[in-house]
Each structure stands twice: as structure tokens, then as C-alpha cells.
């Protein structure tokens, strides 16, 4: 099936190991369309200056680009106000900002922080640190046998002691979509706030922060077509307002004296130092590109690919798939193992065919321990992938055991 988007991605036109690149590591980072690369170039070749700091024309243009990007993000995630959108360098920084500024200040001894066992280390280690520093308890929501969070677990783990629930909307290993609305309902009923890790969801389907009534949302630009070095923290105004600053320095202050400082209002309060304007321009262009395709289309393409891939993978007797394949709770992330073969060898052998997948723990050690595996392979799709890519994956996989001297 021809894919009309491939032509927009320069890297997908270039051969890898002599073969055309089958890029199936979109969960790690996506490729960038020309329009994004061009938007960054345009910024540096035409408008580059330090925003907010200059009264001259170029600096005003840089400010417009930067604040325009903030409004683009606002609309994209349905935030009520543009100043509820804070730019960071990636989802990890966004989560650490929350751990330092919210966690370290509003969590007390005896409080409980609830996360899921499927969290990426970036939404796990910061909360371990907060729990340790504050004498709080870090509690885990476990998964059912096919990787889903059940209402029972939600009710069991979120209690009157819970102050923060931090959970990923889509598991970066299993691709399972978590029931955020149910979690928010329960969390708010006990007065806890909800932090949603949207790193694997925001690039793939519409996430509306007001419709979900979530308190914070984090995501990374580089997993949704934009350059590296730009990420987002969304937060409700009332919460962001009561949080102290995280990074201190230029542009986040109102007045500084030798021994005292007053801080600027949102969003500047959380954006110390010179920001990544080129990155913000890239993110805005990425959101525009996604908007032109439309999430309906993106979801349809990804659903078609999973529906095509899963039966083919299941037909290979030596493949073990992890997690539910029920399309109503699954995105285009597929975790699997090949019998007798270590995931790193699988990845190396596929690489020789130009097929890029990921192998390892996917920054989710506790989930690996929970699944009882040391590592897995992971193929993660995006809308520029095709059925042909899936065919090549299957084809290459079917040769893996032979390469290492096993019968099939």
C-alpha cells in the first residue's frame, strides 16, 4: 500500500545497510519531515535572536515565534490558557520539574504517591526520590494478565492517603492505553492530583487536557516529529501558580536584589535562561504537520498496521507477544521475544536487513521484572510505516533463528 507521507521524510529516502530503511523504533524517537527541518532552518537563517530580551525587530520576531509555538501547543492539547504550557527540554525534565517543585513541596511524611508498574524510568525514579526524601510511600498499580490497569487496582491503590497519581497514558513497552478517565475520577475523589505521562500518547491520538480533567501532562517533541531538545509541561494554572520555581536564573524573575528575588508570573516563572526557540519552532511545525494529516487518519493507519502485523507475528510459532492485542486499548507498540534468541541478537540480525527495532529493557526495569523477562524486542509504528515495512519485519524475523543455528 503506498504511503503518501514517506516523501516528506528525507531520512526514509536514504538506504540503510544498502536497503531502504524500515524504521520501527518510533517509540524511542520519530523521524522528522522536511517541513519541520525547514522551520528550524528558517528560524536560524531569518529570525534568530534572544526572545523577550530585546526591543529590536529580530528579537520581537523571535518572541513571536516562541510565543506562537506556545499557543500552537495550547490548542493542540486543549489547554485553557497558553501560559499553562511550559517549555522544557524533554518529558524527563518536565517530570523532574514536577518532582522537585510539586513533589518536594507538597508531599509529606505518610503521604502516598501512586504510579503504575509500567512506568518509564522517567516517571518512576523521580517519584522514588521524592518518596525517600519526604518519608512518603511509593505504591504501584499492577497490571492484569494482558497488561491492563483494572478498576479494582485503581480502587485498591488510590486511597485517602494518595496525594499524587503519576501514570503513563500509553505504555512504551506494551502499547496499552491506560484508563486515564477512571484514574482521574478516583484520584480527584480522594483529593489527589493526576500527572499524565503523554510521551507515547500525544503523538498518536488526540489528548485533550480539559476533557480528561488531568492536572499535569508531559510529553517530548522528538517523539512527535520535532527536533530533540524541546518538551512540554502542561499544568492547571492554580497548581502551577502555587508551585515554587524549579530552575532559577535569567527571565524567570521580576526583581532581584542581593539577598531577595521575586519571581515572574507564568509561564516565565518556569522557563529560566535562554529557551530553545528553534526547537519550539520545530515543535509548532510538527503539530501543524500532524494537524494536516489529522489524528483520524493517523489512528486509522496505525490500526491497519497492527491488525496486519499481529496475526502474522502470531503465525510464527517461536514468537511470544506481550500484552493485550485488543485494538481498543492498544497503539502501534509491539513487544515480543523470539524463542532461544536474545533480543539484542534479534535487533542486530534485523538491522542487517535494514529493519530498525529496539531491544532491551526500554527504560522500564520494574515492568520487565513484573513480566518476568530480562529484555524484549519492541517494534513501534508511526503513520509513515507501511504494510511493506511489516512484511519486511516478518521476513527478517523468520530468518533470525536460522542465523544462530536453531531450526524454525
Amino acid at each position: 500500500m503506498p504511503n503518501e507521507y514517506i516523501k516528506d521524510f528525507p531520512i526514509l529516502q536514504k538506504p540503510m545497510n544498502g536497503k531502504s530503511l524500515v524504521y520501527l523504533d518510533n517509540g524511542a524517537t520519530t523521524q522528522k519531515p522536511l517541513s519541520v527541518i525547514q522551520a528550524v532552518d528558517d528560524y536560524y537563517t531569518t529570525f534568530n535572536a534572544n526572545p523577550h530580551r530585546g526591543a529590536y525587530d529580530l528579537s520581537v520576531k523571535a518572541t513571536e515565534i516562541y510565543e506562537g509555538a506556545r499557543e500552537t501547543v495550547q490548542k493542540f492539547i486543549g489547554a485553557a490558557n497558553s501560559y499553562e504550557v511550559i517549555f522544557t527540554k524533554n518529558a524527563t525534565e518536565s517530570l523532574n520539574l514536577l518532582a522537585y517543585s510539586y513533589g518536594m513541596n507538597f508531599i509529606e511524611s505518610g503521604d502516598e504517591i501512586v504510579i503504575s508498574i509500567a512506568e518509564h524510568h522517567s516517571n518512576l525514579v523521580p517519584w522514588q526520590q521524592v518518596a525517600k526524601a519526604k518519608g512518603a510511600t511509593l505504591k504501584y498499580i499492577y497490571l492484569d494478565s494482558v497488561g491492563r490497569i483494572t478498576q479494582q487496582e485503581i480502587d485498591a491503590k488510590i486511597t485517602d492517603k494518595t496525594k499524587i497519581v503519576a501514570v503513563t497514558q500509553v505504555s512504551n513497552v506494551l502499547g496499552i492505553i491506560n484508563p486515564i478517565a477512571d484514574i482521574v475520577k478516583k484520584a480527584h475523589s480522594v483529593g489527589a492530583i493526576v500527572i499524565v505521562d503523554g510521551a507515547q500518547s500525544v503523538p498518536h491520538f488526540k489528548v485533550d487536557v480539559q476533557a480528561l480533567d488531568i492536572d499535569f501532562l508531559v510529553f517530548s517533541g522528538h517523539k512527535m516529529l520535532s527536533p530533540m531538545g524541546i518538551g512540554v509541561l502542561y499544568g492547571k494554572e492554580a497548581l502551577l501558580d502555587k508551585m515554587p520555581p524549579f530552575l532559577c536564573g535569567g527571565d524567570m524573575i521580576d526583581y532581584v536584589w542581593e539577598q531577595e528575588t521575586t519571581f515572574a508570573p507564568l509561564p516565565a516563572k518556569f522557563e529560566a535562561g535562554t529557551q530553545n526557540v528553534g526547537g519550539a519552532a520545530g515543535l509548532a511545525a510538527a503539530i501543524e504537520y500532524i494537524g494536516k494529516i489529522g489524528f483520524d487518519k493517523i489512528e486509522a493507519i496505525e490500526a491497519d498496521l497492527i491488525q496486519y502485523a499481529i496475526p502474522k507475528l502470531k503465525a510464527l510459532p517461536y514468537i511470544t507477544l506481550y500484552g493485550s492485542d485488543d485494538l481498543s486499548v492498544k497503539t502501534g507498540v509491539i513487544a515480543f521475544n523470539v524463542a532461544d534468541i536474545h533480543p539484542h541478537d534479534v535487533s542486530t540480525i534485523l538491522d542487517a536487513d535494514g529493519v530498525a527495532i529496539r531491544a532491551g529493557h526500554h527504560c522500564a526495569h520494574p515492568l520487565m521484572q513484573y513480566l518476568g523477562v530480562n529484555a524484549t524486542c519492541r517494534a513501534s509504528l508511526y503513520f509513515y510505516n507501511t504494510r511493506e515495512d511489516v512484511d519486511k519485519l516478518i521476513d527478517s524475523l523468520s530468518r533470525v533463528r536460522g542465523v544462530l543455528g536453531y531450526g524454525s
Partner: protein
């Protein structure tokens, strides 16, 4: 990349056979080697008497390259004294770092020469050297 230059028959054979993958009856040294970024873990068991490695074996999980590399290493060092084992280590690490490239100098590595091409695969170098670094730590105090 030419796969057949990496996953040679010899490597496949060592990986599959599990010949050296077992516990020793009375090891004098047991040392764990870890590769956090891969999640690989091996436990190396040695029986060293009067400076001679009388027997060696390993347990643990890892990719074909690390398993084969460990098994080949064990074949090489079994029955050798620790000085000779250190010579193997130096030669093997030199080969992987491409500091030793002359085939004559590598000859002592015997089957383990099969891992030479790993030096072209930066992402897999760690797999190949894990057991050798573990061995080096294990015998440090025996010299």
C-alpha cells in the same frame, strides 16, 4: 554489515551448546559481571589452585555474543596459569579495541578470533568483553 562474519558457526555453536554453562563443584572464586545497559549478567566460577585455573564455568543470561565469548574464554583459560590468562585478556581486549590487528598476534586466542568482527559493531562491543573484564577482576588478587 555481513551477518555471517558476526554470527559465525562457531559462535552459534558455543552459544547453543551450553558446554561451559554450569556450576563448578568447589569454585574458589565466584564473580558476577554485569552490563547494565543490556541487562546482561554472568556469574563466572573459577577453581584456582597455586596460580593455575584448574577449572572454569559460568551461569547467567546474555546475548549470543556474550554467551559465546564467555564460553570460548573458558575453553582458553582452563588449565592455564593466571599470567597466561592475563595475556589472553590483554590480547582479546586489544583485538576488540583494534589495538592488536595482526593475525599472528591474535593466534593465541584460537576460536575467540571469531569475535574479531565485533570491533566493527560499537553497540555490541560491551557484550563481547563482559566476561573478559569479569575474569580480569577475578584473578587480580591471584597474581
Amino acid at each position: 554489515m555481513d551477518l555471517s562474519g558476526v554470527y559465525t558457526e562457531m559462535i552459534a555453536e558455543h552459544n547453543k551448546s551450553g558446554r561451559n554453562k554450569k556450576h563448578l563443584v568447589e569454585p574458589t572464586i565466584v564473580l558476577k559481571g554485569r552490563n547494565p545497559s543490556c541487562g546482561d549478567e554472568i556469574s563466572l566460577e573459577l577453581k584456582v589452585c597455586n596460580g593455575v585455573i584448574e577449572d572454569a564455568a559460568f551461569t547467567g543470561i546474555g546475548c549470543a555474543i556474550s554467551q559465546a565469548s564467555t564460553s570460548m574464554m573458558i575453553d582458553l583459560i582452563r588449565g592455564q596459569n593466571v599470567e597466561k590468562a592475563q595475556e589472553f585478556i590483554d590480547t582479546f581486549l586489544g583485538m576488540i579495541k583494534r589495538e592488536i590487528t595482526d593475525d599472528d598476534d591474535l593466534e593465541i586466542l584460537d576460536e575467540a578470533i571469531a569475535l574479531k568482527n565485533i570491533s566493527n559493531m560499537p553497540a555490541r562491543v560491551k557484550c563481547a568483553v563482559l566476561s573478559w573484564h569479569t575474569l580480569e577482576s577475578a584473578i587480580k588478587d591471584e597474581k
